[in-house]
């Protein structure tokens, strides 16, 4: 039937351009790899420079406590406070620790003692967490000191403490990569289905074949289907490749059902394809289409909850995210991969997504006439 010819032509065009093949198959894989490995919000290898004025066994023990894990790595040991500041300024240390003279003595005498920690606050997120960890080490050391003393005096019945026991759900090793990868899948699919489809339609406008198609008996529905079906198929190919790599290479758990994931993606594609088509109806050149789609994509990504948590945003921004399809899709994909979310769990995300999709797609179809002007 007619649709077959349209789809066939589209696929031929896509695969004949070697660069496009690279873009569709190789680039997303590179993206996946880079994102997964680069995007770690985990703290590691924070460079800590130390000024130990005390040089006792106690101070050495504190220093060892810091470097016991790979959280902190030594960035040098200096003799004067000014040197500490210099290392921070020159960017050769991320944090500095200053242990005052008399540290060991004060502790042994049961007195209060204070160490100085300076953090390079430039990277506020890292600094905040780094500072938090640094403080945690201090607290742990404090607890250890108290325990030691209490051990010497048998358990005093007057000591009562709370013991917290932590359990992590879904991601016991807390790999931030697991949080990121599902989101990258969404990004890949969005770019392929939104950007490329929109540009493909405008390309026909530019080279004049759109006019030719308008003079032919094909219906707007056939035209749109012919343009979108190939990219729907390609999006599913992307989804499969990305999921396979994620699960096999990165050991990303897939707690939920892949079928559900595929189904949700269909709804998401309604939105992205509709958006791409809509953009193409208001653009005369590929460049215009690209800029338009790009504009919305960038802000869509920023406000999707991928990089920056939505919870932290002011109220007005949070309201805006309710019309951002990426926000819903991110939650859906993460839910399915990491939490084993079921259809009922996801309905609050799927329904708005569906509504948005219907809106976009109908708008696109309505604007699509077989006439110029």
């Amino acid at each position: 039937m007619v649709l077959m010819y349209l789809v066939k032509k589209e696929f031929r065009q896509v695969f004949r351009d070697r660069a496009m093949v690279w873009i569709i198959f190789v680039v997303p894989i590179i993206q996946l790899l880079v994102f997964a490995y680069a995007v770690t919000l985990d703290l590691k290898n924070v460079r800590l420079a130390v000024l130990d004025h005390d040089r006792t066994a106690a101070s050495r023990r504190l220093i060892e406590a810091y470097f016991a894990t790979d959280l902190f790595i030594p960035a040098g040991s200096v003799g004067r406070p000014d040197d500490l500041k210099k290392l921070l300024i020159e960017g050769r240390a991320d944090m500095t620790l200053w242990i005052p003279r008399g540290y060991g003595g004060d502790l042994a005498g049961g007195r209060q003692v204070s160490v100085g920690i300076a953090v390079n606050g430039t990277n506020s997120s890292l600094a905040g967490r780094g500072g938090g960890y640094a403080w945690a080490v201090i607290m742990q050391e404090n607890e250890r000191l108290i325990e030691e003393i209490l051990l010497k005096n048998p358990a005093d019945s007057r000591i009562h403490s709370i013991r917290p026991v932590t359990r992590f759900y879904y991601n016991p090793e807390l790999r931030s990569r697991f949080y990121m990868i599902p989101a990258v899948v969404v990004i890949i699919v969005t770019i392929i289905s939104g950007l490329l489809t929109g540009m493909a339609v405008v390309r026909e406008k530019e080279i004049g074949t759109l006019e030719q198609l308008m003079v032919s008996p094909i219906t707007p529905f056939q035209f749109i289907a012919g343009k979108t079906i190939p990219f729907v198929i390609l999006s599913y190919v992307e989804l499969s490749i990305a999921t396979t790599i994620a699960v096999l290479l990165f050991k990303l758990p897939l707690e939920g059902s892949f079928l559900l994931l595929a189904g949700c993606m269909l709804i998401y594609l309604l939105v992205t394809l509709g958006g791409g088509l809509l953009a193409s109806t208001v653009s005369q050149t590929q460049q215009q289409a690209m800029f338009t789609i790009w504009f919305f994509l960038v802000f869509g990504f920023i406000m999707s909850g991928f990089f920056f948590p939505i919870r932290n945003m002011p109220a007005w921004a949070q309201y805006l995210t309710y019309i951002n399809p990426l926000r819903y899709m991110m939650d859906i994909v993460r839910g399915i991969f990491l939490k084993g979310s079921t259809l009922t769990d996801l309905l609050p995300h799927l329904l708005p997504l569906f509504a948005l999709g219907v809106l976009m797609f109908s708008a696109a179809i309505l604007r699509f006439r077989k006439r110029l002007g």
Binding site: V46, H160, T166, M290
Partner: protein
């Protein structure tokens, strides 16, 4: 020289006449700065924690109060049974749950140690770890403050004074706005340049220019000028908004910043030119531009994600990303007050030279 200006004028007119180019070139950066300044926050705050208080005593309420008093954690709702915890995670209602067992208050008085459970949604690994840290710390402090007076004086008390330099309030904007300059400059310049040239190639106007007595160097210069102007304008816009509206400090010299920024701009433009010489269609040009400029700048340069926690391979890769060096420079100038960056300056200069030579050479050979 006149011809160069002629080409530059044509290019500028193109951009000015197309409202979408303007939107991407000017509106987008402005919106992004404001968005990042006012809406985006990298810090963790107001994390909802679900409370399952099976004891209901004043002691348990006291624990809950001390957990939520700092604002870091907020009460995410009272649960009535354990079975509500997982659904709460899956529906993103709260990030963690605090389970206080029945008999908590009595056990506190009788037993040396009483267990409470902290259940955390680990999906968001980084936040999860921080929540864990925090809740443990609160409990540790509670423990310490509950030590009987008579014992307390003879127990050592280790404390830390923590100071944050260069950004004492840990304002996200101070960190992000300089990075945004780098990101937007490279995004716009590279994309616009590569697209423009690719477009001219496709629609054939490149041949028309070539038939005029204009040399390749002049074409390139003419093309660069408008984007240099746009890039300079954008950078100034972002910095102005950042400094005046968002209070991002400027401890160093504006001149020095301008100089290094110019260098960075040239790198971006040369990259854009290079991309245009290897792309046959606009779709390809755009994708290539995204991959080689946007992605590395976003992920590998230190814009948001820190180098220290990346695997070694990527750390090496980040060394060839121009933004890595520029970010050090701009943050160093604005937040730290440094004005001399021998290493970064040298590398950037080298990159500029290499990229320009390669791009110009390829451009010339494409013309013939």
């Amino acid at each position: 020289m006149r011809r160069v200006i002629g080409i530059a004028r044509k290019e500028i007119l193109h951009i000015l006449r197309d409202p979408r180019s303007l939107a991407v070139a000017i509106l987008m950066p402005a919106m992004m700065v404001l968005l990042f300044g006012f809406a985006i926050n990298l810090e963790l705050r107001d994390l909802p924690v679900g409370i399952l208080d099976m004891d209901g005593s004043s002691a348990s309420r006291e624990l809950i109060r001390s957990m939520t008093s700092s604002g870091f954690i907020v009460n995410g709702g009272y649960l009535s049974s354990r079975s509500e915890i997982e659904p709460g995670f899956r529906h993103n209602r709260f990030q963690a749950a605090l389970v206080i067992p029945r008999g908590y208050a009595r056990s506190l008085i009788r037993n040396p140690s009483t267990e409470v459970q902290i259940l955390i949604d680990g999906a968001d690994g980084a936040t999860a770890a921080t929540v864990d840290n925090y809740m443990n710390a609160v409990i540790a402090m509670t423990n310490r403050s509950s030590l009987p007076r008579s014992l307390a004086p003879s127990l050592p008390l280790l404390e830390a004074r923590i100071r944050y330099f260069f950004n004492p309030q840990l304002v996200s904007a101070h960190f992000i706005v300089p990075g945004l300059v780098a990101l937007i400059m490279v995004m716009i310049c590279a994309i616009l340049t590569s697209i423009t040239v690719a477009r001219e190639k496709e629609t054939g106007t490149m041949e028309q220019i070539l038939t005029a007595p204009v040399g390749a160097h002049q074409i390139i210069l003419g093309k660069f000028i408008p984007y240099i102007l746009i890039g300079a304008f954008d950078a100034s816009l972002i910095l102005a908004i950042g400094h005046l509206v968002l209070d991002v400090p400027m401890h160093g010299s504006w001149m020095v910043l301008a100089g290094y920024s110019m260098l960075y701009l040239l790198i971006a433009l040369a990259l854009g030119l290079l991309i245009s010489t290897v792309s046959r269609t606009q779709q390809v040009a755009m994708m290539l531009a995204l991959i080689t400029t946007l992605l590395p700048t976003l992920l590998l340069s230190g814009f948001i994600f820190d180098h220290s926690s990346m695997p070694v391979v990527l750390q090496h890769l980040s060394k060839i990303v121009p933004a890595t060096y520029y970010l050090r420079v701009i943050r160093g100038i604005m937040l730290v007050g440094r004005n001399w960056f021998p290493l970064e300056g040298g590398v950037m200069l080298g990159m500029t030279v290499v990229l320009l030579i390669t791009a110009v050479r390829r451009f010339k050979s494409r013309l013939e």
